[in-house]
Amino acid sequence: MPRRVVITGFGGVTALGHDWESISGALREGRSGVVRMAEWDKLDDLGSKLAAPVAPYQLPPHYDRKILRSMAPVAVMSTRASELALEQAGLIGDPILKSGRTGIAYGACAGGAEATMAFGRMGEHRSLRGLTSNTYVQMMSHTGAVNIGLFFGITGRVIPSTSACTSGSQGIGFAYEAIKHGQQDVMIAGGAEELSMGPTAVFDTLFAASRRNDAPTTAPRPFDKHRDGLVIGEGAASVVLEDLERAKARGAKIYAEVVGFGTNSDGAHITQPQAETMARVMELALQDAGLPASAVGYVNAHGTATDRGDIAESVATQQVFGSKIPFSSLKGHFGHTLGACGSLEAWLSIRMMLEDWFAPTLNLDELDPACAELDYITGGVRKLETDCIISNNFAFGGINTSLIFKRV
């Protein structure tokens, strides 16, 4: 029989703080993590100079040389976020971590940018100079997942959810399935992304990165008529998932239950999202949860502020939930944290649900008439009681995910 899966810990490293108290304060005040990146001025042909880097954070002394040598910034953040999540779950030092019954489902768009450049230089200069024993392990796409594993001595399954902007949400979804079907009892799940010019350049090339360089905090503008593209963000967010019975037996604090997960793909276009399959993935998650659409009281949108993505998402959401569903995106606050956004938004949406309020979409001042009618949360935070929410994310290549969380 499938088991019920709950969340017993959250942890993160973000642009607006590294714990719920700091982040919720920023959300309530409508603060943005977006800044102008002065050092990006050296790239003349890069139009967008905006990003949302993580706020400074200090690592505890047990992050020593041997721990850090195999870690690019993306792996450091993945590990630290996971440590904070396990601390909250009360599982640091618990024998379950090394028992083989704990696994990891974690992702990012890619490994470390510096390490990747070292291999680039190798090709350009035809020399191995600058490569070390750790260059590859810092660059590989599952570097975050395995560094978390090494740090805690995890011996269960590692599921690298390396799928760009759905890395974090697939991480939670795959972790949920691993526990639901009995393969693991505890999972560390989530995603991360370190900041580099690369992703901004990708969207700049596609004319989908904001150029509001002189007014950083007015970008990005999800669903707004005057949006001009996304802003890349940085961060990591980890979630500890656990078999409900196990969590209850050890008296753990339970934050929410993961009741539904859907993932599918467009099979249509490498960058252009498809409303039809987006709607389908939401239905898949509802089906998995055994819930009607009317049970969901809030939709946390992917909402990156790209031209086509926002329209397709609003149309898909309306198709499944109707035009009265409360709806907002956190990209206005954090930018698009790519691999991290799925787990970051799940974490914050659940915490908002537990406190009966939801943040508005920052910078959504004038709705784009091309977006479908929904109950867009704008202006200030919305007081709203619900016991069930859905969080949606979409990635390049046409990967879609939907996660449904319920109060316990």
């Binding site: 020593d64 040389r65 041997k66 040598r69 100079r129 490569l131 070390t132 024993s133 750790n134």
Partner: protein
């Protein structure tokens, strides 16, 4: 780098590269047991030596290294100008 400086240079390099206590770096110190280095640290040490000397360390020499003195000997061999081919 002059041969008489080899030990000092090696010591400084190890201290900097691996956060080691300088007092522990003696010629007899065993890399793995006494200095707590491991196989991939050894690789990074060799990469550093190659950068310093501009010469390649052979896989045989690398595998035979056990102590700081062994490393010093390899560096000294690397610093000997190669004989012109007959």
């Amino acid at each position: 780098m002059l041969p008489q400086d080899v030990f000092k240079t090696l010591k400084d390099t190890l201290v900097e590269q691996f956060d080691l206590d300088p007092a522990k770096i003696t010629p007899e110190a065993r890399l793995y047991e006494d200095l707590d280095l491991d196989s991939i640290d050894a690789v990074d040490m060799v990469i550093k030596l190659q950068e310093m000397t501009g010469r390649k360390v052979s896989p045989e020499d690398f595998k035979g290294v056990r102590t700081v003195a062994d490393v010093q000997r390899i560096i000294e061999q690397m610093l000997v100008p190669s004989q012109p081919s007959p």
